[in-house]
Symmetry: C2
Subunit: 289 residues, 2 copies
DNA sequence: TTCACCTATAAATATTTTTTATTAATTATA
DNA sequence: TATAATTAATAAAAAATATTTATAGGTGAA
């Protein structure tokens, strides 16, 4: 069975036209007809309901089932191509989300340099969500990732490097009681990281749960800008302690009536990844932290 | 790219011999050589390290990566064949684990009969673990399943039908205090269901945690026999309430210092399953419980 | 009804895969 | 250590498979 036939079939189902599908692949129209026929012969079932004719490519139950499997096979085929292209070019594409990167990279810099890995890594800087997409699509080999939910869908393997906590922060200029409750912050202006990060999700949870944090006055994807604004007392914010390593002029508020989910800092990769020696070394270095 | 080449390649890696692989598939030896060459040409990399020669088929990193993807593709291909064979023969193979079956089937029997589904279902009776394997391997379409852990690996979809609890049971002949602790049962003889079920896992957990239930004197896979033995005061046991629907002569013990995980009764199927009308009706009937 | 457009089929052609036959390399063994 | 047996690679031929060209026949729109 040829993967090409599955490609034809999936596209045919999408375009609902033999001619268009043929044109899409730059082949003649009967090629598509025969490809479907081959599949039908191989599986001894009709895959397409042949009724009126024009632009009415409807799948049978069997066709529908083939389609589902075909898409999975084509995805795997696509991943294989991507992986092999990078192996061929001896490139290692690695995802670096901003906060985590600034926290972790100083800790492993020397080791990466001494093992001659710095030059081998092609960094892809992006938010955790986009990186997870890129990883899923085979666009990168491996990524650092910050998340509150451990991925459990079988597509990924990961090594948890650190478990951090979320903190509510405010400018040091402000005075707050030693212990306070979420509701005490009801009227504060709030600054948050934008949708590409998990932070917003957590802020959204808190907003839903306590009906507070309602006046989000500014969103940014730049956490350093966010910290600077908090420092200048433009508002309070919620952020991982990961981001607070060497920051002056900011205080952590001691909120006693709410616990936030843990923030997992992990190295994540497709479970089908076969790490080469360099990739393996990178994994080892980060995992030893 | 032809799936056949991947089959050759995976087998070659397994047998470490071109000739044996060729013999395995009933083709001539150069067929295998050329298949590997095709893959190497397609991916522009060496896949096999050609050193000394005889019986030393070692994969390169690229070969190793291809192997991982190839296995996934072949698995999907296999599932596709299995699924289509059953669609062709309009067979619906459904897994029925004993306890759950005896609890659920009476509740849906009339509906299944009235929708002419009883005759269409080919039942496969087995323990939950085996059924999950069979499901994974494409040997059945769908299964009833009792489990304490919700499957989260992306291979399966499921509908939770009921959530039951585990009970410690003893013969009605015995006298127990209204409330008791696990340790009070330290010296009791214990009867358990065997490894094909989740029950043993839970019993094992309790044994580990409390260092009790040590004298398991008998194991069986037949829960009715187990209940009968408990009734005849041969020992105590741990079992889902699912199994206790119409049982006389058995009491539930009120253990206050331990809570057991919930017992999920679900209908489970591969996420790639495209249900035909009959399968869909079955899913609907069970899901409405 | 005619025209434009679509899919199916047949036959020819092109491409790909497999085989046969052979070579060169390596191990086993006598 | 020579020789036989076994292994994988290659070349050329054959077989099998996929694609194209040409065409027919069916359908909906004008």
């Amino acid at each position: 069975m040829n993967v090409k036939d599955l490609k034809y079939f999936v596209k045919l189902q999408e375009l609902k036209s033999y001619s268009d599908t043929a044109h899409y692949f730059g082949v003649s129209q009967p090629t598509i007809t025969y490809a479907v026929k081959r599949l039908e012969t191989e599986y001894q079932t009709e895959l397409i309901v042949r009724k009126s004719y024009a632009n009415s490519v409807t799948l049978t139950h069997a066709g529908d089932q083939i389609l589902a499997h075909a898409k999975k096979i084509l995805r795997e085929d696509h991943l294989m191509q991507k992986d092999l292209q990078r192996i061929r070019d001896s490139r290692i594409k690695m995802g670096f989300p901003p906060i985590i990167t600034n926290y972790l990279v100083p800790l492993v810099f020397d080791q990466l340099r001494d093992n001659d890995l710095l030059s081998r890594i092609e960094p892809v800087r992006s938010g955790s969500k986009e990186l997870l997409d890129k990883l899923y699509n085979g666009d990168i080999d491996i990524a650092l990732l910050g998340t509150t939910r451990i991925p459990e869908n079988g597509n990924f393997d990961f090594n948890i490097i650190k478990v951090h906590n979320f903190k509510i922060i405010a400018s040091s200029e402000r005075q707050f009681p030693k212990e306070l409750k979420i509701r005490d912050l009801q009227n504060e202006d709030v600054l948050i990281l934008d949708e590409s990060s998990v932070h917003q999700l957590i802020v959204n949870n808190i907003i839903e749960k306590y009906n507070v944090f309602t006046n989000v006055i500014y969103q940014t994807s730049d956490y350093r800008l966010l910290l600077d604004l908090v420092k200048r007392n433009k508002g309070i914010s919620l952020i991982t302690e990961t981001a607070l390593q060497v920051v002056e002029g900011i205080q952590e508020l001691n909120v006693v009536d709410e616990t936030f989910p843990p923030f997992y800092i992990m190295l994540i990769y497709r479970s089908s990844l076969k790490a080469g020696p360099h990739t393996q070394k990178i994994i080892d270095i980060f995992s030893e932290l």
